[in-house]
Symmetry: C2
Subunit: 590 residues, 2 copies
């Protein structure tokens, strides 16, 4: 796929031949040629956002360019490409993401909008597609493949079948199918996954994988099923196996994931690493402010023992080839002029960044002029919870007909091992006024999973050792269906939390001493139109409130990962408790 | 592009999961993994021509395959891919090429049918497309871009504009535009080349280059113009420059080209060589019989100093990625089971070759059963020379009105330097009966270039030091327009030669002592339906006759390269003498 197919080729050819002046020459640089591995002094001529020539010292420009940028003897490398990320996880809308990460040298991202897709369906994806046009960051979108993640076990705001995926694949800016998370569905060859993958295959498009712990025969079946990449390896052995299988391995360091070391261990000693690229998956606004984006993963990968030039290549050319971008990821005639000027090859913040040949950031400062125009943005309120009429709707009543002073409840309990995040522990609890009473158990709280798309469903369960001391924590960021999740002791606090998020269209709220402190995320209940720094400041503010109600034990996204039914171990959805490994329901009451 | 897109995916997935028996397991091999560079013992399971699993020693098959092939402890590597060749140069039709080169381990070729395209136009290309289906060799076709090579300076049997190229690109089995030889037209951005390249760009297809001696600003302009590869480098510096420019360099060793050493010198010390692949371009039947095909280039490249595993990778995975074949060039689940079992990694003749999982050759012997059925093949006689009515038509008459006993003629004369093959030397020659008389000059002969597509045009010139002692040598293999070329002393011999080729539909003929010895090439005057060994024997026989009339100085294809007006230096076409560098006519008589 040629990214730059619309350029005026005749003009570019004329410029190469010296018959037309270029817009810009970047000179006084050490040019790192990602094709050959060489580093040498060069000047780069650019016209219409396209590289025209890379001249070595003995090659003079035929006619001078209209402007010159002095690289100060620094390195010149291509802009970074993120091979897999979710924009929604940054809580920014795409155009603000552009403003936030260009200064870190990322010039292209391949994104999966499955968060907004779960909330708003195709309209949500269309918003993302449309909004990317307001930034200089090159943002490609992949069609979400698993909305909802497990049909029948949760209700999201949308259902994507092969038809919806196909419709998305035909849109401009959509370049493939996003992480095919239902790996069991792929290797068991379910009709749903087969038909969705068919949509990608018949268009000969990129099929992104997602296959944690998948090896051996399942890995072979998954690869045959279509997906060609993976970013979910949990062991070095898995990385090696996937590379042996011809999969592209995206080395991931997200704000949620741990160290890169085992990923690096899985490829360090392999002779060829051209199927390895770099991704961030889920990265927070604060990380984006402080440590950066792909550059940070580059830095960490080098610290873990990969050679710096090879890591730069992974973050540029390897990603481009994974996606078959024929004119991205390198600096050569005809390639898009996405360029960084850097002091070293180890993931530092770039001195200067050029996007399509335009100087867009210098020393961390974004230089684009297109400030966000909020007046052109409007979003529906996606928090639709008619079932919540009063605090009584957060009371955990025992089943009708139950008699006795106690009842045995499957209590969700954290228990981290290699593969499971939590378990359920049957626990006998008192019954008071027909409802479960946790007042005598300081370690317990309630969790309500409230469908926020108008279905009227709510599940209430008990959670042990969650970390909530008093008040409530609620969020509409709740992967992947993004229903309203409320953790609370007192139904009155839960109601306040729900009302606060209903009023603003979603976000995260802490109820402390009856007062609400809200991180407003009115765009699908997932994102804000605020810029990165403001979002980070708001996160800090609300986190401080959460620290007060939890004694510092709860992260602002603590409720965001308890409802995803493809996560191993029990989760809570709007339809009940579900075992993420078997994808079967677990009774709330025994 | 997924080559294997039509397979029954559900069946393949089931096989990977152990629910379906595979057709074949190849075991007892050292598996060379071209992705990672590792070599380890493994077993390869195959179903429906597709690799299902590559099991390492600790992984048992879940259910046994229907058959087992014992690799005898040898290496298992992917089948080779030729990144650029002309089938016509082998003088075989595609299905016989399949029989000839599969035993050497080549399982895929990317071919440019521009020879038959020049003779028969789209119908010729269609024949090639159709005939490839009769062999197990995977033969892809690229749409010829330069028919004729220089419009207005020669007449071929067809003219391809953007319309014809576009029509070809829409055919099944056509995967891109073939070598874009008019590199001057590309960097000067002529309307013809621009519009032809547009056809490829708008379909996002592969654009093959051809840019001898092109460096610096012209190389940048050529690359921007579209082509992404080159196989014509003549110096090491050129190879390095092209790789730096992000071009795919196809290391070529044809039956016509010299040593590989300078090509290897241009890439040996570069850290990454993933843009280097291997091609044969033009290879003769005899070479195919004796030294092989891609395996021979592999062997020579290793002899010139490249590391053997890397060369195998060039001849497999690198070529596949150059063409964006997503499931060729490696052995992994979902990939086409094109496999070689080899004693070493240095280009030896394979012990066994599997094409789409079928054992197709063993120890050099082709095992396919589909013998050529000549009854289903019929070809038009493409030698149409109405202008040749008698020997008088080969007499080189002086221009009307010329007076005097002598005339000055531009004599074509071999003069090899770095870039030119010959020159013209103005020479005063006697005139006898109104015609040029060379009888007193034993080193001279006539060369007639006879249009063989019915236009009626003929050019007659004088050639010095050609090597013909007596008789005549004529050929319809005459790049690229493939008109009838006749070298002779006596017009009677020329007439005999022309009549012999007219009768059989083309080929090569030697007239010795008035008798014709013909290599019949009735398929477009370029190919025979004979198998490789017979063609090689016939070549030997006719070469012996040519040795008699030339004292061993003339090769059977000596007349085949004197009429291509993109070759530097003077050439002869049916329209006159042409300077291949300036593409201007040169007068025959001064």
């Amino acid at each position: 796929m040629r990214v730059n197919n619309c350029a005026d080729r005749s003009r570019l050819i004329a410029a190469a031949m010296g018959k037309e002046a270029c817009d810009l020459t970047i000179g006084n640089v050490q040019f790192f040629n990602v094709f050959t591995g060489e580093v040498y002094p060069a000047e780069v001529d650019i016209l219409d956002g396209t590289v025209i020539r890379v001249r070595t010292e003995d090659e003079e420009a035929i006619i001078p360019s209209k402007s010159f940028y002095d690289g100060g003897g620094r390195y010149l490398i291509p802009g970074f490409i993120d091979s897999h990320m979710h924009v929604e996880s940054t809580m920014m809308i795409p155009e603000n993401l552009s403003r936030a990460i260009l200064p870190w040298g990322t010039t292209t991202v391949c994104t999966d909008p499955h968060e907004i897709g779960n909330v708003m369906g195709i309209e949500g994806v269309k918003f993302m597609l449309d909004n990317t046009k307001n930034g200089e960051l090159r943002q490609y979108i992949l069609a979400p493949s698993c909305i909802p993640s497990v049909p029948g076990k949760e209700n999201a705001g949308a259902v994507f079948t092969a038809k919806e995926v196909g419709e998305l694949l035909d849109m401009d800016g959509v370049i493939g199918i996003a992480e095919i998370m239902d790996f069991v569905g792929v290797y068991q060859d379910t009709e749903r996954m087969h038909s969705i993958i068919d949509e990608g295959l018949k268009r000969d498009m990129y099929l992104q994988g997602h296959s944690p712990y998948v090896t051996g025969k399942e890995l072979a079946a998954y690869r045959i099923g279509g997906p060609i990449s993976d970013h979910e390896s949990a062991t070095a052995e898995e990385v090696t196996q996937k590379l042996r299988t011809g999969m592209h391995v995206n080395l991931r360091r997200s704000s949620l994931s741990g160290r890169l070391n085992f990923l690096v261990d899985g490829c360090r000693d392999l002779r060829w690493k051209d199927y390895v690229s770099i991704c961030t998956d889920d990265v927070h606004a604060k990380d984006l402010l402080t440590v950066g984006h792909i550059n940070n993963v580059v830095k960490l990968a080098i610290e873990e023992g990969l050679e710096e030039k090879e890591v730069i290549r992974m973050a540029t050319l390897h990603a481009a080839r994974e996606y078959n971008f024929e004119d991205l990821g390198a600096i050569a005639p005809g390639f898009v002029a996405d360029i960084q000027i850097v002091d070293d090859l180890r993931g530092c913040r770039p001195h200067a960044v050029f996007a399509s040949g335009k100087l867009i950031a210098e020393d961390g400062k974004y230089l684009g002029t297109d400030k966000l125009d909020r007046s052109r943005l409007s979003f529906p309120n996606t928090v639709n919870i008619p079932q919540i009429k009063s605090a009584d709707d957060f009371v955990m009543y025992v089943p009708e007909g139950h008699t006795g002073d106690t009842i045995t409840v499957n209590v969700m309990t954290p228990r981290e091992d290699n593969r499971k995040l939590r378990t359920v522990v049957p626990t006998e609890l008192p019954v008071k006024n027909g409802a479960v009473d946790i007042s005598g158990h300081p370690g317990l709280c309630f969790v309500a999973l409230v469908n926020r798309y108008g279905s009227g469903d709510t599940t209430i369960a008990v959670y042990d050792d969650f970390g909530l001391d008093h008040g409530a924590l609620a969020s509409t960021v709740s992967h992947d269906s993004h229903n309203l999740t409320v953790a609370y002791k007192d139904p009155e606090d839960a109601l306040k939390a729900a009302r606060a998020l209903e009023a603003c269209g979603g976000g995260v709220v802490a109820i402390s001493d009856g007062k609400a402190d809200v991180l407003e995320l009115p765009v699908a209940g997932l994102m804000s139109t605020d810029p990165c720094a403001e979002i980070a400041a708001n996160i800090d503010r609300v986190q401080a409130s959460i620290d007060r109600i939890s004694g510092g034990k709860l992260h602002i996204l603590a409720t965001a990962v308890m409802s995803l039914p493809v996560v191993p171990g029990p989760v809570i959805t709007d339809l009940g408790l579900v075992d993420g490994l078997t994808q079967e329901f677990i009774p709330v009451f025994l």
